[in-house]
């Protein structure tokens, strides 16, 4: 098992290293990066919107349910929901969902290119295949995942306000006062550092799994599953490590 870990880690590192070569034509790489950003960013908006609003709403209702004491001000719900949205819910849960959506997409797309010899065709043309296939995907994930997580944070808090208002648990103004009272800009920075880490992990691990697919359709499916599983495990592991190191 240890040998397997070092084998994959070494091959993953070498693949990332081979990406760093001068692009054959920068304009083509730029176009591909833009295409990936649209696919990854715009394509994930609906799922991010749905999960974020519901995460915020459920957190508000459950926090209110647990705060039974009359001595605790209702505004604390706003503090708890906003802080947990910024620190944990939006970055981590959204990234786990994105690992499922983007990760499987990247691994299966590149895996299919591998088994149908499209990557061989690129190499024979003299194109640096890791650079052309991985670089645009990783760069677009590094940009779009933090943006999606910022959006998710806002929607999560918005969902909390909406649920509190509609169910009569807490007035919007009280919720916002609570959220503002404990807001720290540092927490946003911490969330963004998580987002960048997760974006890199999801994209690079998924590309790695896809790039080294061998076989046919069955193996493409397996690579896709592995990409999601490993991305999720590493997101949770790095979540703990980052919290321990930075907070």
């Amino acid at each position: 098992m240890l040998t397997g870990f070092f084998f994959h880690f070494g091959r993953y590192t070498l693949l990332l290293k081979s990406m760093w070569k001068r692009p054959e034509n920068g304009a083509i790489y730029w176009q591909e990066t833009m295409r990936q950003m649209v696919s990854l960013g715009v394509g994930s908006l609906v799922i991010v919107f749905i999960i974020s609003v519901f995460m915020g709403a459920v957190t508000t209702v459950q926090t209110a349910y647990q705060l039974v004491s009359g001595f605790i001000p209702r505004s604390i719900i706003g503090s708890i929901v906003s802080d947990s949205s910024i620190l944990e819910l939006a970055p981590t849960i959204t990234s786990l969902v994105l690992a499922g959506k983007i990760g499987s997409n990247m691994a299966s797309e590149i895996g299919t290119m591998r088994v149908t010899e499209q990557i061989d065709a690129l190499e024979i043309m003299g194109v640096n295949a890791p650079g052309y296939l991985l670089m645009p995907r990783i760069v677009s994930a590094l940009i779009m995942v933090p943006l999606l997580i910022m959006l998710s944070t806002a929607l999560c808090i918005g969902g909390g306000i909406l649920a509190g208002h509609l169910s009569g648990i807490i007035e919007s103004s009280v919720f916002i006062d609570g959220a503002r009272s404990t807001f720290k800009a540092f927490n946003v920075g911490f969330a963004m550092s998580k987002a960048i880490t997760y974006g890199f992990m999801i994209s690079s691990i998924s590309c790695y799994q896809g790039y080294y697919t061998e076989g046919g359709a069955l193996e493409v499916g397996k690579s896709s599953t592995k990409a999601v599983v490993f991305s999720c495990i590493l997101i949770l592991l790095s979540d703990y490590v980052l919290a321990q190191l930075i907070l």
Binding site: N25, T112, M113, E117, Q118, D120, E123, I124, M125, G126
Partner: protein, 251 residues
């Protein structure tokens, strides 16, 4: 010209290529034939640099593929065109974008010049009004033609074709074979075709190398293949009942 000198390739303990030597000349359709699993695909992938060889030499002109630096390797690869068995067209691109891709990557020509070249190549392989179609919208034979157009768009000196007739009907196979023969002679390319289709061999083969269990078993032209005494090659060539009958009549 491509020259192989004692090319060997092993995967783990298994030796797949066992010291193959041969020379392939420009303007000729050189065919590598052999049964499935004989090592001909590995040989072709080794020749284009996708599989590094274990020992021996592959010379492109005077350049030894095993002893060149990365920059020279990339520049050599730009002189190579390849048609893959399943065409290997980029699914996310249209026919036009597929053929345009190498031009976009490696040339600084204007957009109109590139499109002119793309249209020329597509017309050369007999494809018109397919520019905006995706690979999933065209037939297997048309995919092969697009693959050939993409392979020749940069005017390569070397053309590799892997199983050009697999999955094609006999009529389309003949058209693809004729196309390979025509462009080889027209552009004086060194063409290597990997096949086990004897119809193709007899139609277009100028120089034939027969691979058996990783070894070069026979080499010659298409006339010699019908009269050779090589028992292993005869078993391969006259495998069908129709050809067995031909062989009996010949004898």
């Amino acid at each position: 010209m491509i020259r192989l000198q004692d090319v060997r390739k092993t995967f783990g303990q298994q030796e797949v290529l066992k010291g193959i030597s041969s020379t392939f000349h420009p303007g000729k359709v050189n065919m590598i034939i052999g049964a499935s699993g004989s090592g001909k695909s590995v040989l072709m992938k080794a020749m284009v640099g996708l599989h590094p060889i274990t020992s021996g030499h592959i010379f492109y002109g005077d350049t030894d593929l095993a002893n060149i630096n990365e920059t020279d390797r990339l520049s050599l690869r730009r002189k190579i065109g390849m048609l893959f068995q399943n065409s290997a067209l980029f699914d996310s691109m249209t026919v036009e974008e597929n053929v345009l891709f190498p031009l976009n990557m490696f040339t600084q020509e204007s957009k109109s010049q590139k499109l002119e070249r793309v249209n020329f190549c597509l017309e050369r392989v007999g494809l018109i009004n397919t520019n905006k179609k995706f690979p999933s919208e065209i037939s297997g034979g048309m995919k092969k033609r697009v693959g050939i157009a993409r392979a020749i768009v940069l005017n390569p000196a070397f053309l590799f074709v892997d199983e050009p007739n697999s999955g094609l009907d006999p009529l389309t196979s003949i058209l693809i074979d004729e196309l390979i023969k025509e462009i080889t002679e027209e552009y004086q390319m060194t063409t290597l075709v990997n096949t086990h289709d004897m119809n193709s061999v007899m139609e277009i083969g100028d120089h034939i190398v027969y691979i058996y269990k990783g070894e070069k078993c026979w080499e010659g032209d298409k006339n010699a293949i019908l009269t050779t005494d090589n028992e292993i090659l005869n078993n391969f060539v006259f495998a069908t009942n129709f050809l067995k009958d031909f062989k009996q009549r010949r004898n």
